[in-house]
């Protein structure tokens, strides 16, 4: 694990206290549709033939030591979330802080 990430985890992200994010994220319908198409393509893909040897167990990702996102998320205070749509786009309003 990167030493800076380890420090953040060890101190429960206290060094980032006071962080804030406020505003709106907008994405176009085109992007949403591309995502939907990709999702459908994945869902409708024929599954691997059963005669194939059992897939080797997915190696545990412990080697990457990715932290549990909950550790960070439990410190997040969300003040405002609002989902809405406009012609041609999807918008998420967000106000949150640590």
């Amino acid at each position: 694990m990167h030493p800076v990430l380890k420090h953040l985890l060890d101190t429960e992200f206290s060094d980032l206290a006071g962080s804030s994010i406020e505003g709106q994220f907008a994405i176009t319908d085109e992007l949403v549709n591309l995502g939907l198409h990709d999702l459908i393509a994945k869902l409708t893909q024929p599954s691997a033939p059963s005669t194939a040897p059992a897939a080797p167990a997915v190696p545990k990702t412990s080697t990457t030591e990715l932290p549990d996102p909950k550790v960070l998320l439990q410190h997040v205070k969300i003040e405002h979330v609002k989902y809405r749509t406009e012609a041609g786009r999807t918008i998420l309003e967000l106000k949150a802080g640590l």
């Binding site: 101190t11 006071g18 709106q24 907008a26 994405i27 176009t28 992007l31 786009r89 918008i91």
Partner: protein
């Protein structure tokens, strides 16, 4: 630029300004002295720069403690005072700049050259060090990292210093596209 097999992600990376048109987000990120020094401590070992600490102060200035083995003059230590410059805005003001107001003198040329050499060898293009300032050309840096298309989204970047922490202010803005079918006026 990174390549993506997912078409939605690929589109977002190809045209972030269009894909995220209407986005308007402000982020404030405090960077405490502890955290900044953890970052500096994680720099590559075995360089001529033997010590490097940062100390953010109130009044929008911070100090950097630097010890290095410079050619000819040998080991030198300096305590440099830096003042963050104006906000980065696009395209008018691309430089994230820190003025060196104290701690370096004319005869520190070997030390400056040494730091400059380290920067050139280890950091991506766009970082520029002289005796009077450190500055980062943000679009050049982002282009080097493969995120050139995201440059127009960076409406404003500013770093300020207060006691024990630097504050990073970031404003991401993608202007809403003009509608192809403008709404008719409400009044006849």
């Amino acid at each position: 630029m990174p390549t993506f097999s997912n078409p939605a992600v690929a589109t977002a990376f190809r045209d972030p300004t269009g894909s995220f048109a209407g986005t308007d987000v402000r982020i404030a990120l405090p960077l405490t002295r502890n955290l900044l020094n953890e970052v500096l401590a994680a720099r590559p070992s075995g360089t001529p720069i033997t010590e490097l600490y940062i100390d953010p102060e109130a009044g929008n200035q911070f100090r950097v403690h630097l010890a290095a083995n410079a050619p000819v003059v040998g080991r030198v230590t300096r305590r440099i005072t830096l003042v963050p410059g104006p906000a980065v805005t696009f395209p008018a003001q691309p430089w994230l700049q820190f003025a060196i107001t104290d701690g370096l003198k004319f005869f520190d040329k070997p030390l400056i050259n040494l730091v400059q050499g380290q920067v050139e060898r280890r950091l991506p293009k766009g970082v520029d060090v002289s005796s009077s300032r450190i500055r980062i050309h943000v679009p050049a840096l982002m282009t080097h990292l493969g995120y050139q298309a995201f440059v127009p989204l960076l409406h404003k970047i500013q770093i300020t210093s207060e006691a024990n922490r630097l504050q990073l202010h970031l404003h991401l803005l993608a202007a809403p596209e003009r509608s192809e079918h403008p709404r008719p006026p409400l009044t006849p």
